[in-house]
């Protein structure tokens, strides 16, 4: 090769190559620029509109509201997924469906009939929904066909493959046990807002937070792996663990409702409390709401009167006065008083017994068996008003219990300085003050538990998703009266159980039981008393090793306006509690205390 030729040749070709490269580059860049302008400017709107639906999908991740559980883990309130069926009325029209027999045309009427057959509506009803939506707005794109249908209906409608049907998730609350503990659990509104009971009281534990996540999807709608972005984290609610035994709760409600209907009572309550722990094992109300069907119950009956209503307790309260006097040492089991029919104390007041009798020489045992107001007054006046007031406070009277139930009543206990003589005496036998069923139960729990009052517990705590239980409720007891005073009071109540005029009605063979009846006038809502009575029975068993307190109240049982009405309820519920928890009778003999002197 001639050297110079080569040199000049390569120089020329290099120049050409550079030129060619520049030209090609220029062309490529030009093509790119044209394409860029086309995409970014000319077709920008169309493309971004197209991409909006395709590029990324934002979806709500529903957090589950926590469950409310019984002490055995039974679900009293749970969350389930329900579906709303919606339609696009403006798109509702004929469509084709591919079946085994080929494609067939489906008219709107046919489709409506098919939907109705699944949802339990008629085809005409669904056509009416479409028509009324279009009448309101000719371009209507949304109307509800059915709300909160279950998975079966959701699937069945989905299988119809109707193009203008859409589904919306709607997490809902379900109460598998119906009215069992419905009074305590409460309910939520259609929109899921808590309305009553623990649903409100424990909402801070139960509430969940919905999350949002976005993901990219392909043209065919398939989620692109690894494209999920969690915009906000979903937080499930915690589970509220209650102390309620579902089975016993049902039994108490059943027995209470049965007796309330038989005696014509306006309402009633049963409280079952565990002596050693203060746990509420059952709190029955009659009438009681079925949270699955709230509108089936009168608004006034949708809560729990055991927590929210207070009444004059009547004679069941005499146990408190007796325990206080015994604890102070002012009297013993052998101390006697003379109980007249009518007692007019020096400081004022007028105390009568419920039925006429001659003067009786009664011990404290005799006073409680006879349920003598005058006898009780003579024991009660051994203490000053302040002393008795302080005992009442320590027993929990006039204070909201620790149960933490929403809108719980504290009852009324006026300061002792404001007591007139009649009130001062009336408070000795359960008048002139009001208590809730829970406070009465707590009073008997204290006596049964050697004089130590346990906090009333309805909720064990809030169980988080990781299994830890938070917000545990307090469980440390406080001594109210000495163990000796508690045992003496228990012995007296056992004598009452054996010798009361309702002894046959509340007898639990084989067991030693301590119990007391009560009959109190009820307010008429106008500052006076109505003709009706609140009749009650409270007690505990086995008396030699107390396990359970049962407290029964019936309001105005018109067909049987005495303590004989609640006594069988006490007998049945107490038997069931003893049987269920295998409280074996010890067989030790009951004490025998003198009633007279």
């Amino acid at each position: 090769m001639p050297p110079i030729n080569t040199a000049t040749g390569s120089a020329t070709s290099a120049r050409r190559r550079v030129f060619a490269t520049v030209v090609v580059l220029f062309l490529v860049v030009t093509v790119f620029v044209i394409k860029l302008v086309d995409i970014q400017v000319v077709r920008a709107d169309t493309l971004s509109a197209d991409s909006l639906g395709n590029r990324s999908v934002e979806q709500t991740v529903y957090g589950a509201r926590g469950d409310i559980l019984g002490s055995n883990g039974d679900v009293l309130a749970g969350t389930v997924m329900r579906y709303d069926i919606t339609i696009s009325p403006r798109n509702a029209g004929e469509f084709t469906r591919t079946t085994d027999a080929g494609t067939v045309k489906v008219t709107v009427a046919q489709a409506a009939a098919e939907i109705g057959a699944v949802t339990g509506q008629t085809g005409d009803e669904i056509l009416a929904i479409i028509a009324s939506a279009l009448a309101g707005n000719a371009k209507s794109d949304f109307a509800y066909v059915a709300k909160k249908v279950n998975v079966d209906v959701f699937r069945a409608v989905g299988e119809l493959n109707i193009p203008w049907i859409y589904f919306k998730k709607n997490p809902s609350r379900v109460y598998p046990n119906g009215a069992v503990a419905g009074n305590i659990v409460g309910f939520v509104s259609g929109a899921g807002e808590p309305q009553a009971g623990l649903e409100i009281g424990q909402d801070s534990c139960l509430a969940s937070t919905d999350g949002v996540e976005t993901y990219e999807k392909g043209a065919d709608g398939v989620r692109i792996p690894g494209s999920t972005v969690t915009a906000s984290q979903v937080v499930d609610g915690g589970d509220v663990i209650t102390t309620i035994d579902t089975d016993l709760q049902w039994y108490a409600q059943q027995v209470l409702a049965d007796q309330a209907q038989a005696t014509g009572a306006a309402w009633g309550t049963v409280v079952v409390q565990e002596v050693k722990t203060g746990n509420l094992v059952a709190v029955a109300d009659y009438p009681s709401v079925d949270p699955n069907y709230v509108s089936g119950t009168e608004p006034a009956d949708r809560g729990s009167r055991a927590f929210t209503d207070s009444f004059e307790p009547g004679s069941t309260f005499k146990s408190l006065t007796a325990a206080s006097v015994l604890d102070s040492g002012k009297a013993s089991l052998k101390t006697g008083v003379i109980a007249p029919f009518r007692y007019l104390p020096e400081r004022g007041g007028n105390i009568n017994d419920s039925h006429g009798h001659d003067d009786e020489k009664l011990t404290m045992t005799g006073v409680l068996i006879e349920s003598s107001n005058t006898g009780m007054a003579k024991f009660g006046e051994m203490l000053s008003d302040k002393q008795r007031y302080d005992y009442m406070k320590k027993f929990g009277v006039g204070t909201v219990t620790e149960a933490g139930f929403p809108r719980e009543d504290s009852g009324i206990l006026h300061p002792y300085q404001k007591w007139d003589p009649q009130t001062a005496y009336a408070t000795m036998f359960g008048q002139g003050l009001t208590t809730t069923a829970l406070q009465v139960s707590s009073l008997y729990q204290t006596i049964a538990n050697d004089g130590v009052r346990q906090p009333v517990r309805l909720v064990e705590g809030c169980r988080q998703a990781d299994g830890t239980v938070q917000h545990k409720t307090p469980s440390t007891g406080s001594r109210v009266i000495s163990a000796d005073a508690a045992h003496d009071t228990s012995d007296i109540l056992e004598m009452v159980y054996k010798n009361s005029w309702v002894a046959k009605k509340w007898e639990i063979p084989g067991y030693r039981v301590a119990a007391k009846t009560g009959t109190a006038q009820m307010p008429n809502g106008k500052g006076g008393y109505s003709r009706g009575y609140l009749v009650s029975v409270s007690g505990f068993a086995p008396a030699d090793d107390p396990k359970y307190v049962v407290s029964v109240s019936l309001a105005d049982p018109v067909k049987m306006n005495t303590s004989a009405a609640p006594a069988p309820v006490f007998q049945k519920v107490m038997s069931q509690a003893l049987k269920k928890y295998r409280a074996v009778p010890s067989g030790t003999p009951a004490p025998d205390l003198p009633a007279n002197w």
Binding site: A7, N177, P225, W250, Q254, D258, I508
Partner: protein, 211 residues
Amino acid sequence: MSQNLARAFQPEEHDLWSPVAPAERRHIEAVLPRDQRKARPRIIYALTASAGMAAIVIAQLLLSVGISQGAYEISTLQASQVELGRTAESLSEDLVKVSSPQNLAANAAALGMVSNSNPAYLRLSDGAVLGAPGAAAGTPEARSGAAGLVPNALLAGVPLVTDLPPAGAQGTGISGKGANGRAADAPATPAAAPAPAPAAPPSGLPSPTTH
């Protein structure tokens, strides 16, 4: 080749005498062949690099094919997981519902069971009887009152065991549940003939002949 080298020096001499720009370029061009000689083995490197890139591209392609294949599989599996989750939720809902005390008590009563409110115990160590045993009263009152005093709206339409067709007549409950779990909700009317109340339980439980 040696000629080439010799000539390569010539322009350099020219360069000394008449420094012309083209000559300088020629001088640079002349070095190239030497580089070329060195570059020849580097083709292997180029090939290796190209092959590597090709391999990477192919691998990437296969990987994304694999991933998108996986995406479809994941998508299918997720869809079936959702469906199965719904089925599981629906079934456990049914289970919890029929486990409610109302349902159990109603079924027990339908089978003729009564609650005994006289608890008594037998202590095995010495055979002692604790409590006061007594026969349960078979009266309606002993059956803890009328049914349905504690309502449960969810139990509407749930049949009692005594109303169910005998096992075997309609297949087992589980296989009958296969289709959307709807089979059990619809009490099969043909076999639900009004059975006499104290009839033997249809589930094949041994019926007592003595009382």
